[in-house]
Assembly symmetry: C2
Homo-oligomer: 111 residues x 2
DNA sequence: TATATACATGAACATATAATCATATGAAGT
DNA sequence: ACTTCATATGATTATATGTTCATGTATATA
């Protein structure tokens, strides 16, 4: 793998994480962990406007993290990939580990 | 765990991913995977201004992803946590898996 | 102490991004 | 065909974010 390919890979990598790196999208993914849900259900669950939810679902779709299935009038969304759940889990374990008391020497209060 | 705590957890989670979700920071983390490096080395490696690198290292520090150690005039940065490498790896495996030919029905060309 | 080197940081600016509003599309029922 | 319900999407706007420039701080060395 040459430097250029590696760079592209890193670009893709940061793009994936960027998609995970938003509160609304994380909440959507988290809600879908329990199983597929339609847009209006997600909208109620997060107490957000349907439009906002749809916009974010679109991003998740483009990133290949969720998959839509039409069910009559509704569209049901599901996590697309085992990786998605794994990444969520690993992130969670990191966060909870840090919460559990592990502290850093400085920068604790930084922006 | 009540809903409030869960919500906070998800906020923290998205924050962690947000930090990973930038090209410069991913490149920094990736460079540090091979071992600790000082700021000027990272600056050269990424071919970016020292100031930009420092700003991003500050974010990585605040997030607890890297740890600085002063070595004389230089400051050496290292990945702070095993989790960091794991998360990078898992993200990479997701990206490479998708690259390897798995394609989605639509949304392939979306923004 | 004066100077140089390495790094950090505040301010400013340009760009990216998420929510909202209005509206379009699409499916189901009358 | 018309209406209703569910979802998608374009445009707009407010905010967030990354880089640059200028400058501050810290360490080493003459």
């Amino acid at each position: 793998m040459n430097d250029d390919t590696e760079l592209e890979l890193l670009y893709d990598l940061s793009e994936v994480f960027r998609v995970f790196g938003d509160t609304t999208r994380i909440r959507l993914l988290s809600a879908l962990r329990a199983g597929p849900l339609c847009v209006s259900c997600l909208s109620e669950e997060l107490e957000m406007q349907q439009s906002a939810v749809s916009h974010q679902l679109r991003m998740l779709r483009s990133a290949g993290l969720v998959r839509p299935t039409r069910m009559g009038k509704n569209v049901s969304y599901a996590l697309d990939d085992e990786h998605v759940a794994s990444i969520l889990d690993l992130g969670l374990s990191h966060v909870t580990h840090r919460r559990a008391g592990y502290q850093y020497k400085d920068d604790k209060e930084e922006a």
